[in-house]
Symmetry: C2
């Protein structure tokens, strides 16, 4: 039985999900040979530490660690001082400077701890730097949950399409935009009416710019470019157009000619823009779904579709990454 001591840094929706998934899957993980325990949870109020593993029931109703933390350490200090094998970094993302996640991930890697994250910002800002740090320290950095939510994309390329050259990836990487465009087409809503509906349903933020202006999608394009295509792309390298200017009339005209309009991100082209997608195409998925089509040299085009977000769903991708760290290996001679 391999013990895996996890430090959870960030205690929002995804953090709660990670605690819950580790609890639900504890028995299954043990059957796989992994004794997985979350030994610490850190937010801006401090750190809750329990070397026997934190009971998630204890934190179920808590929104923060205020009054719950038993150690007065946060951030990098918490990562350094808690004795753990792996850090799950799930603090809020910032796509411009990557902080505080970037500092957390650097601290963990340089301390010889594996890192699994759903935090896009640090990877958009410093993917190659972080992977070099991981390699120098003999640990792994995994980030499936940063792109496409529950839809396996990075691991699909790494594990299932081995031997294939990846010629290109195009997809819908933002469920909010997909929802708005789907409703505009189906109900002939205006952009602003569909946005309001999405906000009422909690699918869009009060300030929707991050989603509807394509910023989120562009961040994912940068991560795919650097991780799968070995590029050194920055956010500024992506040509980005959002969905604010799309009208129901344009959607209707496209529909009559056999097309949808979707916000599509493309690598290695480094573009994010509304594009015509044939109705018959596997990319033509509606609602909040995400989808990616992977063009390969040997296997043709493989398309994968899944939910774009969700607490348990994202946590599931994180736990899957953790397992893969302990079950993959280099080939030895």
């Amino acid at each position: 039985m391999r013990e895996v001591r996890i430090s959870l840094v960030g205690f929002g929706i995804v953090g709660h999900g990670v605690l819950e998934v580790v609890r639900r899957k504890w028995g299954l993980l043990r059957k796989m040979g992994l004794d997985m325990k979350v030994v610490s949870v850190t937010d801006i109020n401090g750190t809750l530490f329990d070397e026997t593993g934190i009971d998630p029931q204890r934190l179920h109703a808590a929104r923060t660690l205020e009054g719950i933390a038993n150690l007065d350490i946060i951030g990098k200090e918490a990562i350094q001082k808690v004795d753990s094998d792996l850090v799950v970094e799930v603090t809020p993302t910032n796509i411009v400077h990557g902080q505080p996640g970037l500092g957390h991930i650097e601290e963990a890697l340089s301390s010889g701890k594996h890192v699994v994250t759903s935090n896009k910002g640090p990877l958009v800002v410093a993917y190659n730097h972080l992977q070099e740090m991981a390699q120098d320290n003999g640990v792994m950095l995994k980030y499936e949950a940063t792109v496409g939510g529950t839809m396996p994309l990075i691991s699909l390329v790494e594990k299932n399409l081995v031997g294939n050259e990846i010629l290109g990836i195009r997809g819908i990487f933002n469920g909010t935009c997909n929802y708005i465009l789907t409703r505009m087409m189906e109900e002939k809503y205006t952009y602003s009416y569909a946005l309001t509906e999405a906000q009422d349903l909690g699918i869009a933020e009060a300030d929707p710019a991050y989603d509807v202006d394509g910023i989120d999608t562009a961040g994912k394009v940068v991560i795919l470019a650097n991780s799968i295509f070995g590029m050194t792309a920055k956010y500024e390298d992506v040509s980005v157009t959002g969905i604010r200017e799309i009208t129901p009339e344009a959607l209707n005209l496209a529909w009559e000619r056999g097309y949808h309009i979707k916000l599509i991100g493309e690598v290695p082209a480094l573009t994010v823009k509304p594009m015509l997608v044939p109705r018959r195409s596997p990319l033509a998925v509606g609602g909040t779904l995400n989808v990616a089509s992977i063009e390969t040299d040997l296997s043709g085009t493989i398309t994968v579709t899944g939910l774009g977000a969700g607490s348990i769903e994202t946590a599931s991708a994180i736990v899957s990454d953790i397992v893969s760290i302990y079950t993959s290996r280099q080939i030895d001679g």
Copy 2:
């Protein structure tokens, strides 16, 4: 560098593809630490053996090994006598008795050789028996190419959805049926007209029963049931209805109400039958595509789509399976 000596048993379309993919990807595989060489090719005429690795150019134009084989051994004898680490079994499939593939795979496993196959018959007839043999002999049996062609499905469940309970899988597992139904709907062709077109294009066989009566799909349902759901299903356990009775009028009526009609296989339900699929569903793919929706407890529903068949495409899935044998491991304490 890890040397992998491969015996290729079966020299049809897929066998040629395997030789070609190993040749094309030789450099890439070496970078991954694998020195992969096909040391023997066997068909009913004999075996061509070359311990330094067979040059595929030499076999490029050959339909059989007649006049090319340098050893007078075939089938199980060839598997036993050739010094190899892994057998790729790609002889023609027989879904009733599984032979000759079944005997080949048994011989390989009991000789302590890994097996990778695209041959459905042996797995439909004896999945659990063969996996037990593999385990008893400390080797692996991989079969991604038996279900869904290039679409990663078995490996997706095993590698990418770790920690998830798989609640159900439904999909289109036969590109021929999908092509016929797509053409009937789009062009209002009758079943027999669409079948003739598919035969002219080489998409359907002269005797189409294996595809259009749902036999092929049912075989794949049995493999998924036994491998992913741990069942002990046999072909006879599957309730099967094919597509011969579907009319253009039925397809048109479904379309007007927002549906396609597709031949859908379901596990663990063990059914194959024409079903209504909402036009917006990720399952609603056309042409010769295959598709599978995987319902999970944590990650929601993940859908994957890809080409159903093809020489290089199937061979690519086989090579990917070979790589995964040498890059996955059990967790050690």
